[in-house]
């Protein structure tokens, strides 16, 4: 039987990790992820899991140990945030290139400097080209559900790629919400036993991970990573369908809210979608045809599906919780604009960079975005392709 509990995102993730019972968890504390692995370490101390918990001396070592443990044939998980992820950088790429199906929760936090511990998406957006599958969750429930599905996605033999599961620092990581926790046995059944592929400790079939790989074969190996990502598109949906069958909660590449007949659409990741939904309701009651699209999967980027979902909109506003300095706009905006171009979507698109370093984003600001979009729809003119919300200029 499932049960309902009041949990913050980190507690819910730790609970998922307990139920998954990974073989190895190397971790290092960093705000706001800390309580995830700290809670998990209590499960280790209480003998509730069989996990080898390695208290490493830095995140670089955490990911290095993850890769070693995964290559040796273990189911491996960890969690981090911001500068922790940045310190892992070298290893983050190597984890994907070695096809080690590690599952890492990334509690989104601004990547310094100056030092800031609050939420934005600059940490995981920086890692978007590293070769990891990236899932964004809106609330503790989605953090829990994504963490569990991530294991199946990563370990699928057609994929074998590491997965990052994200949710917003403090807002979700430390915000208490009602979370449906599934039965231990049901989660165990869902994730299934771990099957190691090409494990280092299989002495009858010796393998080498990460040797020199130059112009003769490097490009083929990169091409295989691309294949893994392509397969991931199918596997993500298969895993979501099985998850829905067993637990009743629906997941896909994205989630639409009052989107079908909307003329003005807003695209935003993670917890801000919750605020945006209430704004959509307000404006709908005033007769404005507005809707919301919340992407869940950022890598692999579901370009075609997003293009189809937004094809008939007059104007699409993207809200980016991170910037790409010197680029045309935030990462979500750029990817979506490219998808529109490639898939012939005529909708006008604008970008709003918001919430950097935990700057609060109010319903009023989101409403102002919709009013902007309405103005663009009316005049057919975009005054400003990128706007910074709630900033002193």
């Amino acid at each position: 039987m499932s049960r309902f509990e009041a949990m913050d995102g980190n507690a819910a993730t730790a609970e998922a990790m307990r139920q998954i019972n990974p073989d190895v968890v190397p971790a290092y504390p960093i705000t706001p992820q800390t309580s995830t692995v700290q809670t998990f370490s209590q499960f280790v101390a209480d003998g509730e899991v069989d996990t080898e918990f390695i208290r490493v001396e830095s995140e670089h070592s955490a990911m290095a140990a993850c890769i070693g443990a995964s290559a040796a044939g273990g189911r491996v998980m960890t969690a981090t945030s911001a500068n922790g992820l940045a310190l892992m950088w070298e290893m983050v790429y190597i984890a994907a290139s070695n096809r080690t199906p590690i599952v890492m929760t990334v509690v989104n936090r601004a990547l310094s400097g100056p030092i800031n511990i609050h939420c934005d998406h600059s940490d995981s957006m920086g890692a978007r080209d590293a070769g990891w599958i990236q899932l964004f969750g809106e609330n503790p429930q989605e953090g829990y559900d994504n963490c569990i599905q991530a294991v199946r996605i990563a370990e699928h033999e057609d994929v074998l790629l590491p997965v990052m599961s994200m949710y917003d620092g403090f807002i979700t990581s430390h915000g208490l919400e009602r979370v449906q926790i599934e039965d231990d046995g049901a989660i165990k059944d869902f994730v299934g036993p771990f099957t190691a592929h090409e494990a280092l400790l299989d002495v009858d079939h010796p393998v080498t991970y990460g040797p020199l790989d130059f112009y003769d074969f490097y490009m083929e190996h990169k091409r295989q990573q691309v294949e893994g990502m392509k397969h991931a598109r199918r596997v993500i949906l298969e895993v979501a369908a099985d998850f829905e069958k067993r637990f009743g909660r629906h997941y896909g590449f994205f989630d639409g809210y009052r989107l079908d007949d909307a003329e003005l659409a807003l695209v935003v990741l993670s917890s801000t979608a919750g605020t945006a939904r209430s704004v959509v309701d307000d404006l709908r009651s005033q007769g404005l045809k507005v809707g919301l699209l919340k992407p869940r999967v950022f890598r692999p980027f579901p370009a075609e599906e997003l293009a189809d979902a937004l094809r008939d909109k007059a104007v699409v506003g993207v809200m980016d919780r991170s910037d790409s300095f010197g680029a045309l706009g935030g990462p979500l905006f750029m990817e979506l604009s490219a998808a529109f171009k490639i898939h012939d979507v005529p909708a006008k698109t604008v970008d709003y960079v918001f919430g950097l370093g935990g700057r609060d984003t109010t319903p009023d600001q989101i409403e102002s975005v919709f009013r902007d979009l309405a103005g663009i729809a009316e005049t057919g003119k975009i005054q400003q392709p990128v706007t910074y919300l709630g900033v002193r200029e």
Partner: protein, 256 residues
């Protein structure tokens, strides 16, 4: 801290928990600075992440460089090389300087640039919630070692000496006068100087280990101070063959 010192050297009250050993260090440090006449205008403080790193930044009325976790010594190396006339002082905790940044510490000691590094050792990560660090004594309770730390800690004096530091010291905050003397010696030393400052973290370490260590009485903080005093002894008094389980304190010059 006297009002005069406070007005002369600091910008704002400290953020430390009541009873935090870092406050005692701060006090001793500013007394040393004043006695020595260290010119804050010619001094740069470099610190990383953690409670210890907050001693200089943003509290001191001096230039401070507040950097990423573990990298203060590396940044300080850059500062000193670019402008050798500056006094370059690193203050941070054991998690910062000896755990995630341990590599920089040993290489700075080996390189022997005249940096001064003060490691406020409270045996765990205080700021992030009391997790195990590289100096947590074996068996001690932290929030990530609920059954006791299974691993052995670094002895930071041995580590720094082994890496070639020509001046290494260890003083406890429970003996602030000795600590101040040591700080003066470290600051006036003309080469690389490292000090393992035995600090106290009542909030994380104290509460987690209260039962185990027997921090008795209504004032856990006082009991921690008493306890710290009882666990250390001047290195000269300790027979190196048989240190009676006590932690040696004092100064180690390369020649000695």
């Amino acid at each position: 801290m006297g009002r005069v010192l406070r007005e002369k050297y600091t910008r704002q009250p400290t953020p430390f928990c009541p009873g935090c050993g870092h406050g005692i260090f701060l006090n001793a440090f500013l007394h040393a600075v004043d006695e020595l006449g260290l010119d804050f205008d010619k001094t740069v403080f470099v610190s990383g992440i953690g409670c210890g790193a907050w001693v200089p930044s943003p509290h001191f009325q001096a230039d401070t460089l507040h950097v990423t976790h573990g990298r203060a010594v590396a940044f300080a190396t850059g500062v000193k090389t670019a402008n050798p006339d500056l006094n370059v002082i690193v203050i941070g905790g054991d998690g910062d300087i000896a755990t995630i940044g341990g590599n920089h510490l040993i290489h700075a000691a080996r390189r022997n640039l005249p940096l001064k590094v003060f490691c406020l050792n409270n045996f765990l990560y205080g700021m992030t919630g009391g997790q195990v660090s590289a100096t947590t004594p074996q068996g001690d309770i932290t929030s990530t070692t609920r059954q006791g730390n299974p691993e052995r800690p670094f002895d930071l004096v041995d580590l720094a000496r082994g890496a070639g530091a020509p001046y290494v010291a260890r003083f406890p905050v429970s003996q602030p006068r000795k600590l101040k003397r040591g700080i003066i010696n470290a600051l006036s030393f003309d080469q690389f100087a490292f000090m393992d400052v035995l600090s106290l973290c009542p909030t994380q370490y104290g509460r987690a280990n209260r039962a185990k260590r027997g921090y008795e009485g209504p004032s856990m903080i006082w009991s921690m101070l008493e306890h710290q005093k009882g666990t250390v002894a001047p290195r000269e008094k300790l027979d190196s063959e048989n240190p009676e389980g006590k932690i040696p304190i004092g100064e180690w010059y390369a020649e000695s």
